[in-house]
């Protein structure tokens, strides 16, 4: 219901824009100098694997890096008193050893910051996540729509959240066969034409069967790719991770989603203050952002090959801005290619005589600037 109302809003807004000459302008209120600096707790208690928690602070400047909360002591506690430490892996990221926690207990997270403040999340019930039945896709007039289907025969899960990791194979604009190393041009040792790009989901994906008679989700829309997306150009893969939620946790994520993804549209609810389940033990009024739940994770992977998208002939490459290669005469090679941001592509011959090399900026040649040449384990 919520979903189709927001769709109604979007279409209506679209209709208004066309019919009435409406317009959407940027709204940039003067930057509010607010000294607010709140703790942000990101992560969940993984019942079957390592638990990763990231601690950070709110930030007030758009371009500044996210301030991390380093050197804190983070522990998972169960209601029986057992404690599992999460040592700091890198500043602000805390990870436990792989755990196998019983779903009979309830769990909480305890944080003691470097400045000595103590925070705790509320005890939460551990949730067993049912497996994902199917990740499927279809090409429709809006693009490539990826769906997820799941069910719980016990009718106990009801609330779901998904995250996904996308991986795709792509190539740079020009395939370079040579490289300029220490003043000499030589055969390229390692290919930099084909790479794998990857991206994690940023949108909050939720699903609920609470209004259905059975705990069955069929083809819940998860991800919509433009039909000519550069991710689909060769081969695309998506790993969907599924988490079971409690009703309360679902409400939190739903609210967070509402607050940050579609707000103040024509008929959208007004922004709301969020309260998570983490509290400062000394000062309950201090806002702390984040909700720490406890669940197992199930996952499923899908591949889409270009050949399956027969009707799409052209894909974006991401290299549309790259110009034609320059020809660099042999005499100019040292001066030209000693600059690291320019890479040679191939030799230029006149009557079988090498007269120079073609070159192009590295961003158009070296795919590693946008991905990795290391083939992921799961890639066939």
């Amino acid at each position: 219901m919520i979903r189709f109302n927001s769709r109604l809003r979007n279409y209506l807004a679209g209709a208004l824009v066309l019919l009435l000459g409406s317009c959407v302008d940027k709204f940039e209120p003067e930057v509010l100098d607010t000294p607010q600096n709140y703790l942000v707790v990101d992560g969940f208690i993984n019942l079957s694997g390592p638990t990763t928690i990231r601690l950070s602070r709110t930030k007030n400047e758009a371009d500044a890096p996210v301030p991390v909360e380093a050197a804190a002591t983070v522990t998972v506690l169960d209601d029986a008193g057992a404690a599992y430490p999460l040592p700091e892996q890198q500043p602000g990221t805390y990870q436990s050893a792989p755990l196998n926690l019983s779903s009979d207990h309830r769990y909480r997270l305890r944080i003691r910051t470097a400045s000595g403040k103590e925070y705790e999340s509320d005890l939460v019930a551990a949730r067993q996540t049912p497996p994902i039945d199917k990740v499927s896709w279809e090409l429709n007039n809006r693009g490539v729509q990826i769906y997820v289907s799941t069910h719980d025969e016990a009718n106990a899960t009801r609330y779901y959240r998904w995250r996904y990791e996308e991986t795709w194979l792509f190539h740079s604009a020009y395939q370079s066969g040579v490289e300029y190393v220490d003043g000499t041009m030589q055969q390229r040792q390692e290919g930099i034409y084909y790479c794998w790009g990857s991206e994690n989901s940023t949108a909050i994906q939720l699903g609920s069967t609470s209004r259905l008679s059975q705990d069955v989700l069929t083809d819940a829309p998860l991800r919509l790719l433009e039909s000519n997306s550069l991710k689909l150009g060769i081969k695309y893969s998506i790993l969907v991770k599924q988490y079971a939620l409690t009703a309360e946790e679902f409400a939190y994520w739903e609210k967070l989603k509402k607050n940050t993804e579609s707000l103040g549209g024509l008929f959208d609810p007004q922004p709301t203050q969020l309260t998570g389940n983490v509290h400062n033990l000394a000062d309950t009024a201090e806002p702390v952002i984040g909700y720490v739940g406890a669940a197992t994770v199930t996952e499923k992977r899908l591949f889409i090959d270009r050949t399956e998208l027969g009707s799409i002939l052209r894909f974006k490459t991401g290299y549309e801005d790259c110009g034609n290669p320059d020809t660099v005469l042999l005499a100019d090679v040292p001066a030209y290619f000693s600059r690291p941001n320019l890479l040679p592509i191939e030799g230029v011959y006149v009557a079988r005589t090498l007269i120079g090399y073609t070159g192009n900026p590295a961003v158009c040649v070296d795919c590693r600037l946008r991905g990795t040449t290391v083939k992921p384990d799961f890639w066939p």
């Binding site: 109604l8 709110t58 995250r163 967070l256 922004p271």
Partner: protein, 918 residues
């Protein structure tokens, strides 16, 4: 000698039509006229003004004039000088003044020349002395005898009846009927009914009203009796006529905080699509604010949008707009008047906190078949009216429809092409006079909207209203109206694209009511209104049903809610002295929330949530779940400081038992309504209001200052992230908040002349506090915060410039402070994206609102006997193309937060409408 004057008079009358006084720039008169005979007085005035005076010296013999004036217009001097005497005067275009004796007129010579028709009658017919009993008083020249001679029980008698338009037979509302010596007057009510208690004897009844020509009837009052008056319509309804009719109402009327608009005023205000829109015009009045551009949701004096009682011929309308609020749901052609009560709400009305918007239709032409219509860019309309039985009964039926479907199908965008949007409305009204004492009125109204968006979600909503009125006149001083009303509002949202989740969501609200209202004109000092009403609400707040065999959607039904609202009221308008008038009213309302329903019980002392439900109690059908009752006080006071200025004060309490649920920035048609129950208490409002009124320049400029202070108890507000749709335990998401609002409204209105219109400035605040319950239930830490309707500064100008009777222009200007908004204060990174941390609720504001509209009206010829009258309206909405924010919103896009403002009318919107009338 006498004969000579008489002949001169008749000749003059036959030569040229005489104009009523006051429409010319008149010469000014100064001087001291002490104990002068009329002859001497006239001689002196003639010397000063060069106007020629004619009179019958025997008729004015012995009459003395006492007056001291300084630079006063001639007509005013004459009026003041002759008011205490029996001598009457008339002034014609050729600067001739005729003085006659009032008493002599009644038996010998028709001597008053206030009105051209009177003169024509005199000149053309010989039977100027005819006296008439009964029937319809159509002629100002004839003498109408009221009652049997000698039947009077005392020194006074009551004359009562209706004022109707001669051509159409429609009652004239709000017309003044008065005699000048002694000064006694009344105005007609919603049926065109008036009652006047006068000394027995001869009188001249002056009649002035909106859209009619000023006229008078001569009566010889013997005893109580009837006088049914038919008056001529003023074809072009010049502003002068309308204003003169009520020119001192601003100062002299008892009612404060009331705004009355007639359809002719409404038509002059430019609107977005050239479609006359009453709600849009109401929004230009002081104290009335829009909640968003393109929305007809109105906030009156800081109240919420659900606190306005919108009555269409006494039946409640729940959704007064089409197409998400871009058009008002009322066909302008069938409307007669729109009255908005902002304070001092009469005791007759109840059930809403902030205001009453009373919309009345016309009765239809009782004499001949007529029609009118209009063709616009997005909609067209047609209205037909005519007699069923001539002079006895009439009908009016109007319809309006959009052709936006047709436009949508021609758009290039695929999702819009697959969309549909259409609406229509039909209104019908019948009035039938059974006999002299009984009249029946029936009204039906239907409006329907339908959208289909990108072939996915279909959306429909409709209003249905009906009212039946029986008006019975017991005697000259008492009449009663029995009214039965029914209203229904419902919507349905269907989604059929995905067979697994195909579903339909339906909402329905119905109410039936019965009320009896009585008006008793006890004497010249007291008018008593009393009555009783009862209203049954039946609400089906939400029903989700699966569509198709594959759908896995589980049916969900919020069940039914029922409530009964009953009230008794009595009010007395008491003219204590000529300067002081008070209106005292008391309404007592009783509300019962009725079963059958299941009611959750919650653990005491903790916030209500699904986790704190302790029990479910079932109430059987018709069992009372909760009862609320209380008095509603309605007090008003007027003290006239002088002829031109007065002070008014009022206090009123109102109670509201039905609440609209909406936590979106704008009004959305999926907003539902909720009846008061065991958890949702009725809203109670108290308003104190004081105003000062002063008119200038012969009542042509009206000024007023009104100030108010308002408390609202149990104002409905929502917890953060409240879910209102298909919520079985709404009480967990609703909080009973406290509201307060205060403000001061300045208004200047000029109603005559080539330039007319109004200018108003309002300073007002509207604040809410939710400080009950646990900290989680509180908003902004339990402190007062600006409500969504808090727009402190507001300036409105509605101006017209009339170049000629056929060509006029209007200009609208509107400025207001931006509405409050909750702003993102800081950001944080969570779950792979940068997210926003919001400020306290409504702590900041969107940019100020500013808009200028312009319209031109070009009328066809004004020949009275023309086959069809037509006019063109060209308008430009948002002339300066200012991009006023309709809404401001923030989106997380690629991990970055962007703020946007959507302007709906981001550029000038021109439109053209063709109107016709036959």
């Amino acid at each position: 000698m006498k004969l000579v004057y008489r002949i001169i008079l008749l000749l003059l009358c036959a030569l040229g039509s005489l104009r009523s006084y006051g429409q010319h720039t008149e010469p000014l008169v100064s001087g001291s006229f002490q104990n002068l005979s009329v002859e001497e007085f006239a001689r002196q005035l003639q010397a000063q003004t060069r106007y020629r005076f004619f009179f019958d010296s025997t008729a004015v013999q012995g009459v003395k004039v006492n007056l001291q004036v300084q630079a006063q217009p001639l007509s005013r001097v004459l009026q003041q000088a002759l008011a205490p005497t029996t001598v009457r005067y008339a002034v014609d275009e050729d600067h001739n003044v005729f003085l006659t004796s009032g008493t002599a007129l009644t038996t010998t010579l028709p001597g008053n020349f206030f009105q051209p028709g009177a003169v024509a009658d005199v000149a053309a017919t010989a039977d100027t002395l005819t006296t008439i009993r009964g029937g319809r008083a159509t002629s100002p020249a004839k003498l109408y005898e009221i009652g049997r001679p000698g039947a009077a029980k005392g020194a006074t008698a009551t004359v009562a009846g209706h004022i109707r338009e001669a051509k159409s037979g429609e009652p004239v509302l709000g017309a003044s009927v008065y005699i000048t010596s002694p000064s006694i007057g009344a105005s007609t009510d919603q049926f065109g009914y008036y009652a006047l208690t006068l000394p027995v004897g001869a009188h001249i009844l002056n009649i002035r009203g909106i859209g009619i020509k000023n006229t008078q009837r001569r009566i010889q009052l013997h005893a109580d009796g009837k006088l049914e008056v038919e008056v001529e319509e003023d074809i072009t309804a010049l502003k002068e006529v309308r204003v003169e009719a009520e020119k001192d109402k601003n100062v002299a009327g008892l009612q404060m905080g009331v705004e009355k608009l007639d359809i002719k005023t409404i038509r002059q205000v430019p609107t977005a699509f050239g479609e006359t829109d009453i709600l849009r015009v109401v929004l230009t009045l002081p104290g009335v604010k829009s909640i968003g551009e393109g929305s007809t949701g109105i906030s009156v004096r800081g109240g919420a949008t659900d606190q306005n009682l919108i009555l269409f011929n006494d039946a409640t309308v729940y959704s007064p707009s089409h197409l998400f609020g871009f058009f008002s749901a009322f066909n302008p052609d069938i409307l007669k008047t729109v009255e908005l009560y902002k304070s001092a709400i009469p005791a007759r009305y109840g059930g809403r906190l902030s205001s009453v918007l009373d919309i009345a239709t016309r009765d239809g032409n009782k004499k001949k078949l007529a029609g009118s219509g209009g063709i616009g860019l997005l909609t067209s309309r047609l209205t037909l009216e005519g007699p069923i039985v001539k002079d006895k009964s009439s009908f009016i039926i109007g319809g309006r429809s959009s052709y936006s479907d047709w436009i949508l199908r021609r758009l290039p965008d695929r999702s819009l092409k697959e969309s549909a949007a259409s609406f229509y409305d039909v209104s019908a009204h019948i009035s039938h006079e059974l006999d002299e004492k009984n009249t029946l009125y029936a009204t039906g109204y239907l409006s329907r909207d339908r959208f289909k968006l990108a072939s996915d979600t279909a959306y429909a909503y409709q209003n249905r209203n009906a009212s039946l009125k029986w008006r019975h006149t017991f005697n000259n001083t008492l009449y009663g109206v029995l009214t039965a009303t029914g209203s229904q509002y419902g919507y349905e949202v269907t989604s059929e694209k995905n067979p697994v989740s195909a579903s339909a969501l339906a909402f329905n609200l119905a109410q039936v009511g019965l009320q009896a209202d009585f008006s008793y004109f006890r004497n010249a000092q007291h008018t008593v209104d009393f009555g009783a009403s009862t209203l049954r609400y039946r609400l089906r707040p939400g029903r989700l049903t699966p569509q198709g065999p594959e759908s896995l959607v589980e049916p969900d039904d919020l069940g039914r809610e029922q409530g009964q609202e009953s009230a008794l009221y009595v009010s007395d308008r008491w003219d204590v002295t000529p300067r002081l008038a008070v209106s005292v009213g008391l309404r007592y309302s009783l509300y019962q929330s009725l079963g059958a329903r299941d009611v959750y019980e919650y653990a005491p002392g903790v916030a209500r949530s699904v986790y704190t439900i302790t029990d479910t109690v079932h109430y059987g059908a018709g069992k009372t779940i909760a009862t609320y009752h209380g008095p509603e006080y309605r007090l008003g006071l007027k003290y006239a400081l002088s002829d031109r200025s007065s002070l008014k004060a009022s206090y009123n309490r109102t109670r509201q038992y039905i609440h609209q649920l909406s936590n979106t920035a704008s009004l959305s048609p999926t907003d539902t309504w909720k009846l008061s129950d065991a958890y949702v208490r009725p809203q109670v409002g108290d308003q104190f209001s004081v105003g000062y009124y002063r008119n200038f320049r012969n009542n042509t400029i009206e000024t007023s200052v009104e100030t108010y202070y308002k408390f609202m108890h149990d104002f409905v507000d929502y917890i953060s992230g409240a879910s209102l749709l298909l919520n079985h335990h709404l009480e967990t998401d609703i909080i009973n908040a406290e509201g307060k609002a205060y403000g001061v409204e300045f208004s200047v209105k000029k109603s005559t002349g080539k330039i007319n219109g109004w200018l108003s400035y309002t300073y007002s605040r509207s604040l809410v506090r939710a400080n009950a319950g646990t900290p989680a239930e509180q908003i902004n830490g339990g402190k007062y915060y600006p409500s969504n309707f808090d727009k402190p500064h507001d300036v409105t100008l509605a101006g017209n410039y009339r170049f000629s009777r056929r060509f006029s222009t209007s200009l609208n200007f509107n400025y207001s402070t931006g509405r409050p908004i909750t702003l993102p204060l800081t950001t944080y990174y969570l779950e792979g994206a940068t997210r926003v941390f919001y400020s306290d609720r409504n702590a900041y504001r969107v940019p100020d609102y500013y808009r200028v509209d312009f319209a031109m009206n070009i009328e066809g010829g004004h020949k009275a006997k023309k086959l069809a009258h037509s006019s063109w309206t060209l308008s430009v909405y948002n002339l300066t193309g200012r991009r006023n924010p309709y809404s401001v919103y923030f989106k997380a896009q690629n991990g970055k937060i962007n703020g946007y403002q959507l302007s709906i009318f981001g550029q000038p919107i021109p439109s053209v409408t063709y109107n016709f009338k036959f």
